[in-house]
């Protein structure tokens, strides 16, 4: 007590018309040491702020970490553009529309159209297949399954995310190919009047196979993120819906799904990011044909990343530049997708923010 005179003592001193310092020295028996280092709240001069402490150090570290992201991004962009521009200049055809890839010839001819189309097509089909299933699993895990089942099942789903993509690729090519080929034959027999299921074969190493493998790879990300957001639904909102006479499914529709929507969109975008950038699984499963076709069951299909993996080995200087240019296009596609997703989330921010 003696070392730390309380504020009220100083207040009393003030009332008596004496300064805090005098009152303290005279009245409360402070040890001499505390004159040199005034304790907190003890009146006297305010302690000086520390000039170089943990605060400043940590602030510096975090600023440096933040700046590093920018530096890395700029460095990558400079590298990509510096390699891509000469190759595109050497291209004797239109880079955006030409439908073939011969960058290693003496007169390089290459275009991104087929690859970009294939990338977007496989990713979209993969998401169309994966997202409904993933949301179903997520809802089951978060709201329907008994806890004893939900925990191990969630773990299995996460395990699926840990399988390396090359394993998925090999599995798709050696195991999954047969069932998909049979399924494609069946689709072709009964639904060939729908253009996407038409054609005369051969079937199997198709956009369908690649997309389905992609779907399986995207599934765990979308599932576990969606499960997280569904589980964060405030219990009191679920109770509010139930107390209004909602059935379980109505409760999910009223309280859980709207609340989780921004999170689900983010999860889907992350899944799309993975699908767009997936390389080796598609390099192993797609038929590698250079044409733009909506037919998803005939041998064929190609994607930017798969093409890079397949042709980097035998590429010359211009060839590598052409592949880097294609990577730049992939980067642009991903950027557009991400910005679109953010725009969707941003539109309803008023509701999300006021909920927080």
């Amino acid at each position: 007590m003696g070392d730390n005179p309380s504020r009220s003592e100083n207040a009393t001193a003030g009332d008596l018309g004496v300064t805090g310092r005098h009152a303290r020295g005279a009245g409360t028996g402070v040890s001499p040491r505390s004159y040199e280092e005034p304790p907190f709240g003890g009146g006297g001069a305010l302690p000086k702020k520390t000039r170089f402490g943990m605060e400043a150090g940590f602030k510096g570290l975090s600023v440096a970490a933040g700046a590093m992201v920018l530096v890395i991004i700029v460095a990558i962009a400079v590298f990509l553009i510096s390699k891509a521009v000469p190759a595109i200049n050497a291209d004797t055809e239109n880079f955006l529309t030409y439908k073939s890839w011969f960058p290693n010839d003496t007169e390089p001819k290459f275009g991104i159209a087929v690859l970009a189309f294939g990338t977007v097509l496989t990713s979209i089909i993969a998401l169309l297949v994966a997202v409904p299933i993933a949301l179903g699993i997520a809802l089951f895990l978060s709201h329907y399954a008994p806890k004893r089942l939900a925990t191990p099942l969630g773990f299995v789903i996460d395990l699926l995310a840990a399988v390396p993509s090359v394993v998925f690729g090999l599995w798709g090519r050696d195991v999954f190919l047969e069932p998909v080929r049979n399924f494609s034959l069946w689709l072709n027999e009964y639904f060939s009047w729908i253009p996407i299921f038409g054609g005369d074969g051969p079937f199997g190493r198709s956009v369908l196979l690649g997309s389905l493998v992609l779907a399986i790879m995207v599934l765990p990300i979308v599932t576990s993120l969606s499960r997280e957001v569904f589980m964060q639904t405030p219990g009191m909102n679920e109770e509010a819906a139930l107390a209004l006479g909602a059935t379980k499914w109505e409760m999910v529709r009223t309280a859980v799904l709207p609340y989780g929507k921004p999170g689900v969109i983010a999860a889907v975008m992350l899944g799309l990011g993975r699908a767009l950038g997936e390389t080796i699984a598609l390099a192993l499963t797609l038929g590698v044909v250079f044409n733009i076709s909506f037919n998803i069951i005939e041998n064929g299909g190609n994607s930017i990343a798969a093409n890079i993996a397949n042709s980097f080995g035998e590429a010359n200087e211009t060839g590598r530049g052409a592949l880097i240019a294609s990577g730049l296009v992939l980067f642009a596609i991903t950027l557009v997708v991400n910005m679109a997703a953010r725009a969707i989330i941003y539109r309803r921010r008023e509701f999300r923010d006021s909920a927080a």
């Binding site: 405030p234 009191m236 909102n237 109770e239 509010a240 819906a241 139930l242 107390a243 209004l244 006479g245 909602a246 059935t247 109505e250 009223t254 309280a255 709207p258 609340y259 929507k261 309803r348 008023e350 509701f351 999300r352 006021s354 909920a355």
Partner: protein, 258 residues
Amino acid sequence: MAKRIEASNVSSYYGSFKAIDSVSMVVEPKTITALIGPSGCGKSTFLRSINRMHEVLPNARIEGSLRIDEQNIYDPDVDVTAVRRLIGMVFQRPNPFPTMSIYENVVAGLKLNGVKKKSLLDDAAEQSLKSANLWNEVKDRLGRPGAGLSGGQQQRLCIARTIAVEPQVVLMDEPCSALDPISTLAIEDLMFKLKDRFTIIIVTHNMQQAARVSDKTGFFSIDKTGDPGRLIEYDDTQKIFSNPTEKKTEDYITGRFG
């Protein structure tokens, strides 16, 4: 519009833990009944047993019988969603749906019950908000988020949402405990107004509130932690607060315990 609630020997459990023991009481239509008692004495559990919200929690169950106008609420053939539509509930903390506008919040219950016609929904929203004394404050911003209102307004929004489905009974679980005195007064005024149409049962920690608003008061208590809560005394509010029969009740309302 209002119905009678009759509980006889209701015991509620959470798994093997008995939360309330053998509660019997009759709540007459168009009255306000207050349930008071120390924390953990089972008043909220009893309240949630009345509209079968108790069983939402895992392993929760009840014994005994609860009737609404002679129909058994816990009859195995009864649709639990119908019970909850008949017996609405307002919760301790205001819980408007955060993703919905004020308007959508009010009509959420009606939409769940299949009402789709815009004119019907509009009428119901206006009527319910007027009944909840909120219409004048929000009529110009029905499209704004419900969660953007103040706490007291949110709670009145939740009351509007509850009465929009025209229940017979309204249960209120400490509806004012998260609100300031002015908002509390607004809710109490509202309760007097709603009494003409609904049977109201309110759990409250605020004894002045119980004395102010209720016609009858039930006092719950427990002997010690871990014991089930019991209904010690249930009588006219006037009698409970002036001349209670039980010593325990008197001790509690005079502040000597709890």
